[in-house]
């Protein structure tokens, strides 16, 4: 079992109900597995501008970081006590 903390701030945290949420994942779970859990638990309430239920991923411009390191590869494995941060960027031109 891998225990991680899902962190979100500001408006994003209002959708998750808390800025810090502890989540248990299977051993060797990846970010993709975490996204699957997010879809199960919050997919129905996350707004369409930020969550793509069909693909089980965040829509732009939401960035995922693990322990303050930005992660692009969703197959990245998660470790015990990892902090996974969901951050909204601003990219409009």
């Amino acid at each position: 079992m891998v225990k991680i903390t899902l962190e979100s701030i500001g408006k994003l945290s209002s959708y998750f109900g808390n800025e810090n949420i502890n989540i248990d994942l299977d051993d060797e779970a990846s970010i993709m597995d975490l996204l699957s859990v997010i879809d199960d638990r919050w997919g129905a309430i996350l707004p369409g501008f930020m969550w793509n239920s069909k693909k089980q991923k965040f829509r732009g411009p939401i960035i995922i970081a693990v322990n303050n390191e930005i992660v692009r590869d969703l197959k990245t494995r998660l470790k015990n006590n990892d902090k996974v941060q969901i951050i909204k960027a601003f990219v409009g031109g």
């Binding site: 500001g10 707004p47 369409g48 501008f49 930020m50 793509n52 069909k54 693909k55 829509r59 732009g60 411009p61 960035i63 970081a65 303050n68 390191e69 930005i70 692009r72 951050i87 909204k88 960027a89 601003f90 990219v91 409009g92 031109g93």
Partner: protein
Amino acid sequence: MKSKIKGFAGYQLRVSLEKMETKIEAISAEITRKFLGGAGYAAKILFDESKQGIDPLSPENMLILSTGPLSLNRIPGGGSLMICFKSPLTNIWAESRVGGNFSPDIKKAGFDHVIIEGKAPKPIYLFINDQKTEFKDATHLLGLTTSEKVKTIQNELGDENCSVLCIGPAGENLVKMSSIMVGGRAAGRAGGGAVLGSKNLIAVAVKGSLSIEVAKPDQLKAILKKSFADLKTNEMSAGFKEFGTIGDIPDNDDGGDWPTQNWRSNSWGKGADLYDYYEDNNFIKGYACYSGCPISCGRKVHVANGKYKTPEHGGAEYESISCFTAYVLNEDMDAAIHSTYLCNELGIDTISTGSVIAFAMECFEKGLLEKEDISDLDISWGNAEVLPILVKMIANRQGLGDILAEGVRSAADRIGKGSKEFAIHVKGLEGPAHDPRSGKALGVTYATGNRGMCHIHPLEAMAWDRGKLDWGLQKYGLPDPNEVDRWDEKGKGTAVKLLQDGLTLPDIIGTCKFFSYAGITTDHWAEMIASLTGWDIDGKELLQVGERVINLQRLFNIREGITAKDDILPERVKSIPEFGKYSKEERCVIHDFEGMLLEYYQARGWDPDTGVPSPEKCRELGLV
């Protein structure tokens, strides 16, 4: 020739097309310290050297290609060129920025600025190479698309890496919203393409091998090392890299920051689906517009098959796609990608073009267009098929396209019948894809932007109000964005003054504004300039340069006839949206625009009735 000012090439190239002569001039140390470069240095030259009231398409107009002290490949965002001129679209100050290697390459060729005057007796292009120049015949380039022109010139010069800036057929046809293209990127706004077209200057090619002397190289190296490290962990930097500017469409649609159907609404509800389609079908990969960019916000896109089949190209920018989807109620992303590709190939601004098409669709809906102008075209809302047709008609000035090619203000004058009511522009420049009804500070910047309703200098107002960014400006007095309500009007005018002073700086110092969003603050920029030049300069002095430049551009506009009566917002843009998520949201209404504007004038030290900078303010800024 060695520069007398460290950190600068030290010279400007003056191009007299009438005589087909070029002259190398040392740049003024005093002007450079006060105005630095880019839109600042160019404003000083245009104000001092161009005559009041000239026709922007006459030989008397000047067009300046201007770099800043930071326009170097090794600087974050250093691939940034400013093109400044009096606009044929608005008849006032115009600046248009474009990314790419052209700007650092001008420096390598030995110049900080290229000042273009007069009109060549025949179509030509200019080749600049290590402070040597050559005029070349361009007759054979006429009518070619922008990418064809670039390839032809690079072949002729025997260098496929040579940077080329050129106009398309629209610029040759003096379309008032024509762009200047640089390596697939556009200096789109305000009609610079027509100014070059009027001068018979079809392209400028540049290459160079010279270097810039740095005053404190070790200090610069240390600052850059830290900046690049910080950029790697910055979420905004990652956002730009991961999603490009188009990535904001779903959020802006949801947040009421997405003008829809010629501004009848500020949301549509289709942004997420359109973005998903693009991601699945059009997106190929991200790319950097200049060598060394760590952000790489550019998107390589295509339309693989079908009636809108389009080759791989750099495109799908937020503004461009918004103007060819939400503005015109088009749900076909392939058609939008294809239309914006055509805009770039033909050399017209995607924002103004999408805007005038939206205006034409509303005219069509209301039965205001003459049969002789539209033939049997169906210009209904959402008709994707008519979009590329209208783009070509505008670029080639055919039928209705000839009317729209003059811009929405002139088109409304010509069409009449009440169409001015829904011609959305400020000072003649069509509005971009951000909506002040969902972040009131933007209303002030749209009204007071020196080039009109532009998407560059107002952007930070929305990013502060709704996006909650501060760019390190809180220490200089900017209110904490997290304590600001985007629906409020009070305090916005005062905040906009500082936002403009701070965020106009990238266009003066020669960097890409997105790096300011990614954590490089005014203080960081000042440190870089100090190490390059050896000057004792800090963030506070930089902000004063920003203020000085904004005031000088304002004085230029006042000289050209702009008054406080021109600092307005279209009524529709102040009113409750007619449909969409916010159609019952009363807070969208801008109730006291005049109050916000007065607050802004007072913060600026401008006359509250006339909007003219006071003599005291001009003295304080060294503009007298």
